[in-house]
Amino acid sequence: MSQIGADILVDALEREGVEYIFGIPGAVLLPIFDRLASSKVRFILTRHEQGAGHAADGYARASGKVGVCIATSGPGATNLVTAIATANFDSIPMVAFTGQVKTPLIGNDAFQEADMTGITRSITKHNFLVKNVCELAGTIKAAFHLARTGRPGPVLVDLPMDVSMAEYDCEYPARPNLPGYKLNGRGNSRQIKMAADAINSSKRPVLYAGGGVISSDAAAEVYELAVKGGIPVTTTLMGLGAFPETHELSLKMLGMHGTAYANYAIMESDLIIAVGARFDDRITGRLDAFAPEARVIHIDIDPTSISKNIRVDVPVVGDAKGILQAMIPQVAEADRPEWLARVAEWKQRHPLAYKQEGLRPQYVVEQIYEATGGKAVITTEVGQNQMWAAQFYKYTQPRQFISSGGLGTMGYGFPAAIGAQMARPGEVVFDIAGDGSFQMNIQELATAVGYELPVNVAILNNGHLGMVRQWQELFYGRRYSGSILEDANPDFVGVAEAYGAEGLRVTNPGDVRPAIEQAIASPKPYVLDFVVEPEENVFPMVPAGSAINKMIGGMA
């Protein structure tokens, strides 16, 4: 009996080592779902395709593998768009399968038809429309290869229904056919030497590490370089965990809501060693004022990121891990006592701080840190909750902090926590959320309950769209236009229980720690509703258009 397209797809997924596929079925996917039922690949039914996409993304970030999701044609596929864009902006390996109407109907405005290759062209690393069942195996192979190699990214495969039903016997190809895709390898040895020389002759170097360090699995090399060369390390939001924040060389996060000491250090540096980071505007602030005395070494796998925003003196294109391995032997051991003393003084004089009266969101994050021993997997939503999660938890491991950095997608954290829990069974997973963000994918409580995932949600409930409110307070005369939620927020505990999860509302600082411990101990999904100070702000803050050493910040 010969195979049909659906068999080829399922077979391909098994060969690629896919454990889970997140999604929702639909009319054009019926042949595929029929075959999926008896496959080794486990299908996880979510309640919105955006939830499926973010779950695949969270799974990918937590495991290092390719996240896989599937949606039906038309509205199912368009519901995936935000999740694909989220993965694209953060360079996350993902393959998204979308059903499509039968090939003769394409372009005819058929029922539930959407031009997904057109719609996702600018938000995917690449996409494919499979028109012939004989191309299917090769396309899937290519899709996974593209997703996980080079600079990772989401790849969309659009599957017309008749292709999934067509009969053919195909061999699964050994190598994908991508003549235009070449991988940048090991970095140019002359550039590497130039970089090492620059480090050796610098007086005030700073290591600036981003998400690329985690994608490249280069945390150990970053650590070795920092310790050998006496170089303080700061990370972007995407790079949290690439260097242990408990180490004395750690400056924690820099940029718009980074620590003051990280911002001062990089602004006063004479050499910036950028690894797997892209000098985004959240980091640089005003470009013409950024690090005026610093030469820049930029190690990145993607040449388009180099010299895009700032002038780079020593570009090194290639895989971070391999480049650092080649570079470290050429870097001299150094103690840098004066520079490190200056940095230590900044750390001492400008720590992160907040007022201790009432129930403060920063306190909640600190208590989560203590209760989990600093070892939990933390996902976040977007806005103030995200910034406090980045500031007040000390990350020590890669793939411990999972957050939508580049796109900043509210509603990301909860489904991502579901995906992360599936990737890391047995570990404690916390989604640090806002009351606005959590409601965007609240329906995924059903997914968490249905698959018995003990994810924990900590809502920093301030009754507002917090970050918007903060900007309105600081720059728009406290006119809270469209940012007030508290009039219509639900009883979050009631909603959790209605879905079959558990929940607890906390209004007292003294109840915070016991509540967290209760959530961790429970085998069910748990929603903690922390009613926090409604007008708390994230500080320090670099206002838009300012240099990053010109922060505003009400410290305690």
């Binding site: 290759t117 057109g118 062209r121 600018s122 690393k125 690449h126 429309l129 593209l146 991508l178 003549p179 235009g180 895709y181 993607d302 040449p303 388009t304 010299s307 895009k308």
Partner: protein
């Protein structure tokens, strides 16, 4: 500054859309874009005339290389190259003016490919500047319609 970029791409549906989408999304200019098959039927060559400062041109070539379907990207402006633009111009030829127009066409070594009572259609191929010069000379007579391919280009000398 004007740059001529030659891009060889996989000859597959959607590739043209991908490249023009890239230019549109990132706000790069397209003065002209010509595309067609090459000696290898699986490969097409696209010639794009764009403009920008050095930093923009560097980003354009890097972003084009990053696309999965592009095979090779060359900024020809830095090399020795041949460039041709083909134009068909339907020009007004009022009574008594026909020989003037024919003279202009001959000076440019163009061809007349259609003649009617009040119009002629001229065909010319050459460098962009030459084509533009002819258009400018014909404007006073009244250009009724014009179709231009945009530049195609190729490096001189042995294939690199």
């Amino acid at each position: 500054m004007r740059h001529v970029i030659s891009v060889t791409v996989e000859n597959k549906p959607g590739v043209l859309a991908h490249i023009s989408g890239l230019f549109a999304a990132r706000g790069y200019s397209i003065d002209s874009l010509a595309v067609g098959e090459t000696e290898d039927p699986a490969v097409s060559r696209m010639t794009i005339v764009t403009r920008g400062d050095d930093q923009i041109i560097e980003q354009i070539t890097k972003q084009l290389r990053k696309l999965i379907s592009t095979l090779k990207v060359q900024d020809l402006s830095e090399l020795d190259y041949i460039e041709r633009d083909l134009v068909l111009i339907k020009v007004n030829v009022p009574a008594g003016k026909r020989s003037e127009v024919i003279e202009i066409v001959n000076i440019f070594r163009g061809k007349i490919v259609d003649v009617s009572l009040r119009e002629i259609v001229i065909e010319l191929s050459g460098q962009e500047t030459k084509v533009q010069a002819l258009i400018d000379l014909l404007k006073p007579y009244g250009i009724k319609e014009m179709a231009r391919t945009g530049s195609i280009a190729m490096t001189r000398g042995a294939k690199k």
